[in-house]
Amino acid sequence: MYVAVKGGERAIAAAHGLLAEKRRGDPQVPELAVEQIEEQLSLAVDRVMSEGSLYDRRLAALAIKQARGDLVEAIFLLRAYRTTLPRYGYSEPLETGAMQVRRRISATYKDLPGGQVLGPTFDYTHRLIDFALEAEGDVPPARTAPVGDGAMPRVTDIIGDDDLIERNPPGDPFRPVADLTREPLTFPADRDLRLQNLARGDEGFLLALGYSTQRGYGRTHPFVGEIRMGEVEVEFFVEELGFAVPLGEITLTECQMVNQFAGSKTEPARFTRGYGLSFGHCERRAMSMSLVDRSLRAEEFGEERKGPAQDEEFVLSHSDNVQATGFVEHLKLPHYVDFQAELALLRQMRNDLAAQAHPSQEAAE
């Protein structure tokens, strides 16, 4: 006798119970504190904040804990929370030139005002597993050079002073900045919308696209003009006060890529820019973003669009990992109604073919 597949409700509740148990793991092992994730898995926190589009270290750490370390799941949790928050307004544009820099490197100049500051980086570490980390122990305080009091101008501003790089278009305070969390994505997309999309795009997707431009699918001849990471003050203009008040500071990574120059008979040749910005310390994503940003400007510079990274609809429609993971994983949901329709058609087609092959048999029946 056929037993209907009932009990969905109980099955769901039981599955969630299992998940909670699995999340906790062996109860003999101390439970992970959110502070530990925040402090010791800080780059995971940075990525979740960036792609979750919400600067809240503690909440991101909690989401990572809840997601059992699945970062895309954690990003999704943060996004779903973020969308319920009221929006008071928009901050003033950030001044990354005034960043309290913890890391700043340029690949285009050997030395420059403010110097090269390596900061906390994996670069130049030998990727040998450090078995000493298995044992707990104190880390000796790191030695740092005295902080210079000199300014640390952006490299692109230095190049810009010689008029050798395109100028960023001046901001228009009366033109609203695009916001894809409030308006559906439309094409063609202006650069502000593209940058917003890339800023929350999946790191792996951006990395692969950026990489593809280096391998010839829409080459842009990039140089890292500068990567800087550090703290920037966020200001909010208060209507009642008539001036901007600081809300606090956030950690940012900014990458300015200096690319293939463009010019014409009338216009002197200049380098072009690709821009990447990320919450926290996310160098890989900031660099990838700047490569893709520049590639997406192909039309602006009259370049032939032949690589996927130059294709705005392709890139912007597929960069969001919350959308992507949802739709890919929805294939887990039951599809038996549609499958049944396909089965019926398939059988009919096979019968038709068999009938054609043996018409006499059918006639006999």
Binding site: M1, Y2, A4, V5, K6, G7, G8, E9, A11, I12, F76, R79, A80, R82, T83, T84, P86, T181, R182, E183, P184, L185, T186, F187, P188, E313, S317, V322, Q323, T325, G326, F327, V328, E329, H330, L333, P334, H335, Y336, V337, D338, Q340, A341, E342, L343, A344, L345, M349, D352
Partner: protein, 293 residues
Amino acid sequence: MTHAATRQAYNFAYLDEQTKRMIRRAILKAIAIPGYQVPFASREMPMPYGWGTGGVQVTASILGAKDVLKVIDQGADDTTNAVSIRQFFEKTAGVATTTETTKATVIQTRHRIPETALQAHQVLVYQVPIPEPLRFLEPRETETRKMHALAEYGLMHVKLYEDIARHGHIATTYSYPVLVAGRYVMDPSPTPKFDNPKMDDCAALQLFGAGREKRIYAIPPHTRVVSLDFDDHPFEVTRFHQPCALCGANGSYLDEVVMDDCGTRMFVCSDTDYCETRQAEGHRGIMNQEAAE
């Protein structure tokens, strides 16, 4: 969190009122232009994209405290995702829910239209994965919007014609394209084409929500909905060669259930409410004879 605590932490039916207004505006526009895909600023929902976020947002925006909600997936009320969405609204809106098609005022569905004819006081909300009927013929949104604007649907007819040339008939069994009110070609969401005739001249309002793709479209009550076809190859619904094994219904959409590993199959109504109602009325199928005795 208890349901009461959830309701305190979130607005009625989860979405804030500003978002609901935005969605209602999109719905009104969609009703005004039947079959036209209205872009809307879809929100992240606490369930994944592709799992009904569009339908959930539409339902959340139209739901009132007195509504009675039914949620089905593959025609069934007890499929896991239908259970999950129903629980979501029980938790966030506290509305009454039902599995009975006739008692519901709002029915959210994935992949099916109930067998029981819908009434004027009901709204059917479809969950839509890919709202663009032309998407698999033309991947670019900029192009497909142009094609809709110009009612340039030749590509779709060519596709259907090629099906006939290759297979002898139109080889589209679900998401079968329809022409709404003589103007827009529309994707009925991946419902089987068996359900297409139910959309035509339907007394209920039909709303379609695509969350990930950020589109809403609608079929107002009693609108002409025609499945695309050719004079010499008219549209045909899928027919089953046996009645439901549980309720004996002829002419309902059937699911094939694998009984063992020796090729035994049974066919039962995909619409569980329809099937159960019929059984309650005393109808019996071949696999259900002993129960009747």
